[in-house]
Amino acid sequence: MMTKGSNTALVCVAAVLLRWCVSLHPYSGQGKPPMYGDYEAQRHWQEVTVNLPVAEWYVNTTDNDLQYWGLDYPPLTAYHSYLCGLAARRVNASFVALHESRGYESETHKLFMRYTVLVADLLVYLPAAYCLMSVLAKWRAGRLEFVCLLLYPGLYLVDYGHFQYNNVSLGLFVMAVAALTSGRDCIGAVLFCLALNYKQMELYHALPFFFYLLGTCFRQGGVLGLLWKMTKLGCCVVLTFSAVWLPFASNATVLSQALRRLFPFERGLFEDKVASVWCSLSVFVKLKTLVDNRNMALICLLSTVVCMLPSSLHLVARPTLRHLRYALLNASLVFFLFSYHVHEKTILLAAVPACMLVSEEPFMTTWFLTVSTASLLPLMIQDGLTLPLLALGVLFMALTHHYILPSTEKVAKRTRMWVWMRRTYFLSVAGLAFLTAATLFVQPPDRLPDLFPVLLAIYCCGHFVFFCLYFHYCQFTLKYNNNNNNSAVSNNNNAKKHVQRK
């Protein structure tokens, strides 16, 4: 037990150390008036929530100019901002002074903001990863997931470098998966609703959750069981949502205004150079001129739903936890590739489910995580975080190379396909290295100033499509034991027996 605790502590401390190292670097929009960046957005939300009544948070008023980083995340984010704002006010009232604090920047403030992320990490994300590990430990897994969740560089580059609180929503999401894994479906539903109410981006994961729970409902045996479970789950969801939205319920216009803020269709199809299908296509076909925004949104919606359906329906038929984890990854990848208004950071929503699959698919997931880290490069260049990205990318690859990839070697030696897979992996990493170096050091031709970032985006997009197909294939070919609700458990039992026989 000691060793387990001490290993866990080691990983946690290492994670905190790396996170803090990143936090010494600049944040998005540092010293770039008038709009600054996400850092200023978060600070501005603290300012707004602390100084204004709840009803005005999402409404355009004289004190709340929605054009300047108006609040566009669900209420939990707002509450979190409120708490941080209260703390900020205690530390230094000028951090959050209404109007006057716009574009406030100082070393102390940066320190304060970084600490808020660290606190959120320690309170939500770390416990969530720990819960997942301890839940998976039953199945002789979970340790790699824990290490991966904590040390995957993309997440803390965005949170501690670029500056956001993805760790809260993703932590709640991981905790929800852990709850489902341990059989506590209602708690899982509540936690997922909380995640969804922290960041609407969690919708990426909503469909697999829904279909998984639906599938388990069907497996209750009898109509009564089905109805009882559905009622329970429904109550959980409804109660959570109403509890979160209660402060806004006083006025219908406030509610509708808030909802409109959450789903902004006036924004573009994608931002900058994202490795999504639409961005890659638009290099060859000028989508923006061909189709107007509204239609494009429809096309996105349709294509996303169509691509989502196979894995989701499969999940209804086979609602096991392994299927769920694959489906989560598949759904978020499909969303990332096809949905409307995708941002580079969105890949984190696919990376976290991938982290949770790492002991099932050590080779492919680490490959995917590596590529996903590299796909953040354009964003990081903008924020002046190139160096940490490179350092952490190499660190992560070294870690996976030594701890995770060796476990695939046995498989690799056995089948010819895996030999080729590994070669492809090295080729792909070499390609990434080449494109990264080109982006950083090669002067692009004048006519194509964004040549290399776009090439990188297309390259990553190709990878993501491949991964998407591969993980779909995995999900559909997973062994399913009809007698046992949870195939993984039975697999685990087999594994245990096998070990004992040895």
């Binding site: 001490s6 290993n7 401390v13 290492a14 998976l136 660190l395 701890y403």
Partner: protein, 669 residues
């Protein structure tokens, strides 16, 4: 785990028979009181087939006495500890799969048994150092996983660990400017101006080879930003300059990595642990290399505060590793280079001097055959000349140009500035910190009791930044006095070293004690110097449990005492987590080897006391309402508290060095 009494008796009988057999061969004097010791002196080992102890060759030890080697082949699964009894000693190098039993007739007064060659006389493992862990190293397997996280994979961990240091890039401290200035001085001024130039207050005060090293760096620095090489460009810090300097530290750290690796290999060999296979102690040995390489203090001092200590310690470790490999000349070369890179390592020179004189010059290399000893006067003189020539050559290369220009005096005054005070502004946690605080307490007590106390002492007490001050009650300390005390403090370990020839591990011990003595009693010691104790001590932590205990304790305390160097609030989480990470990792690796009990209750309590102390330091006395009167109270508290721990470690280590081999303890189960 416990071996039944019957088995024990059988084993003892077997070994006894062996001795009788040996007597029959006439190789040894009869052993009279074999195995008469109490139960606590009994060997614990499991065995399957004791008959496989095969008498090996008879050879002579260093003193020309007879010595019999027994090889034990596979089948005997030794988990055996040192057997010591009566007048004679028999040592069993442990190995899980085999090993040697060596029986000789050395008098007990000698602390070292020396060694009996395995092959070629090169990789001699000194049996004296072989305190065998009471159980087989336990592998750290996280439940539910097939591979361990760190210790087992530790050999590979070497490389990744270096990368995080990239992350500190954007931070800079005053030492940046020091080294930037040296870069500029070395690259843009002629050699005879190096030690004369006074453009910057940070004049060159390292020996000439270090300036040459900076000159080499400057050749690369040109491609980053040539402006940093201008002497007049004071406080120049473009992003490229910082990047270059960070990178230079990271790249030169590879020397340190190499040194750690070589030393780690030697540690594994010395433990007789080479045969353990991939999953055996070899991985723990490699993990020790990682423990050394990832040293938190070094990471903080080099990569945040900015210095090239990693590189320098790399050279030191190379030198030690060569010594352990019995390549004394190479070791001497590395050490002379090191002395010419940074002269603070002069403190370690006594250990080198004694060991080389005794074991290399006087006794000579280990003979391949007993009749071929090389102890003739001619061969001794030849070895002395060889050694002397090497050392003189390197010093000549380094200082020659300055001697030729008649600047030696100037260089030496730069290298040894005696104008500084007894202690640094922040007291290094050594004996003098305790001395100072005792003085201050006496002043306070004197004030209460109405003694007449000099006013100067009272004033300097609250000053903190005063460089030189006189003690009010206790006698003031002069540089000469510290020198004498330092010499006295390292004398015992040197005597022990003299009396245990050809035992390179004893030499490492002496190096540690030299570093420790100078840290404890030296003049104007900087707190960074604690690394000079902690790092070589790390080499010993697989050999004796007691030393492992001191290492764990001292590394925590010593690294904590570096905290005041990093005072900006941004650095707080880094230093705390780096220290924690390293301490946890060290504990884990060593616990895997030695079992749970590495820290006793008192030590644990003491280390827990560091937590409120760090709070006091970070939050500051000001917030606690103590600020106005005593602004330096937190620093002083840290210094004194750490000084207590360091002094405790010093006493313990000195005691261990004098007592010698560890005692046998009956295994309690």
């Amino acid at each position: 785990m416990c071996v039944s009494r019957r088995t024990q008796v059988r084993i003892l009988l077997t070994v006894r028979n062996l001795f009788l057999e040996a007597r029959g061969r006439g190789a040894l004097e009869p052993l009279t009181n074999t195995f008469t010791g109490g139960p606590s002196r009994r060997a614990h080992y499991k065995h399957r087939d004791p008959a496989l102890l095969i008498p090996g060759r008879v050879s002579q030890d260093r003193k020309g006495k007879n010595c019999q080697v027994f090889n034990c082949k596979l089948g005997l699964r030794f988990n055996m500890k040192l057997i010591r009894e009566g007048e004679r000693r028999k040592f069993v190098p442990r190995s899980r799969y085999g090993g040697q039993l060596c029986v000789s007739q050395w008098s007990p007064s000698e602390l070292s048994l020396g060694s009996v060659g395995t092959s070629g006389g090169n990789s001699l493992s000194s049996t004296h150092d072989m305190c065998v862990p009471r159980r087989r190293p336990r592998h750290n397997v996280w439940p539910g996983c097939d591979r361990n996280v760190l210790p087992q994979a530790a050999p590979h961990a070497r490389l990744p660990v270096i990368y995080p240091s990239f992350l500190f890039t954007l931070h800079r401290s005053t030492d940046f400017e020091v080294h930037r200035n040296w870069l500029a001085v070395a690259s843009s001024l002629p050699v005879d101006r190096w030690y004369v130039d006074q453009t910057s207050p940070w004049t060159l005060d390292y020996p000439p080879l270090f300036a040459c090293f900076e000159l080499l760096l400057a050749q690369v620095a040109r491609f980053f930003d040539a402006a940093m090489l201008d002497v007049k460009n004071l406080n120049y810090a473009s992003p490229m300059t910082i990047l270059f300097q960070r990178l230079s530290v990271i790249v030169t750290d590879l020397v340190y990595a190499y040194g750690c690796r070589l030393c780690g290999e030697e540690v594994v060999k010395a433990g007789g642990m080479g045969g353990g296979g991939k999953k055996g102690v070899a991985s723990v040995g490699a993990a020790v290399a990682v423990v050394l390489f990832t040293n938190a203090g070094l990471l903080l001092v080099d990569h945040i505060h900015f210095q090239y200590n990693g590189f320098l310690f790399g050279v030191l470790f190379l030198s030690i590793a060569k010594m352990l490999q019995r390549k004394e000349i190479q070791s001497a070369i590395y050490f002379s280079v090191l002395l010419n890179l940074k002269h603070i390592y002069l403190y370690l020179a006594p250990a080198y001097f004694i060991y080389l004189l005794r074991s290399y010059v006087l006794l000579g290399p280990v003979p391949a055959r007993p009749d071929k000893t090389q102890n003739s006067l001619a061969s001794r003189v030849f070895r002395l000349i060889k050694l002397g020539a090497v050392v003189v050559l390197i010093f000549g290369l380094s200082f020659g140009p300055f001697i030729a220009k008649g600047q030696l005096q100037q260089v030496l005054t730069r290298l040894f500035p005696f104008k500084r005070g007894l202690c640094h502004a922040y007291w290094a946690p050594n004996f003098w910190a305790l001395y100072n605080i005792a003085d201050k307490l006496l002043v306070l007590a004197g004030g209460r009791l109405g003694w007449a106390v000099g006013e100067g002492g009272v004033a300097s007490m609250t000053g903190g930044l005063v460089q030189e001050y006189s003690h009010a009650v206790l006698p003031s300390v002069s540089p000469g006095a510290t020198l004498v005390v330092t010499a006295l403090s390292i004398l015992p370990s040197l005597i022990v070293l003299w009396r245990s020839p050809n035992n390179p591990w004893q030499f490492v011990r002496a190096v540690v004690m030299c570093g420790f003595g100078s840290f404890m009693f030296g003049w104007h010691v900087h707190e960074k110097a604690v690394l000079m104790v902690v790092l070589p001590l790390g080499l010993l932590c697989l050999l004796r449990k007691a030393e492992a205990q001191v290492f764990v304790f001292l590394s925590a305390v010593g690294h904590f005492s570096l905290f005041p160097l990093f005072f900006t609030p941004q650095e707080t989480p880094i230093k705390v987590t780096a220290l924690l990470l390293h301490a946890l990792f060290t504990l884990q690796v060593l616990r895997a080897h030695w079992g749970q009990t590495l820290l006793n209750t008192l030590e644990t309590l003491y280390l827990l006391g560091l937590v409120p102390l760090s709070l006091l330091l970070e939050v500051g006395a000001g917030r606690l309402g103590l600020g106005e009167g005593l602004p330096f109270l937190p620093l002083m508290a840290v210094s004194v508290y750490c000084a207590l721990g360091v002094t405790y470690s010093w006493v313990k280590l000195s005691y261990l060095g004098l007592v010698g081999a560890p005692k046998l303890k009956r295994k309690t189960n």
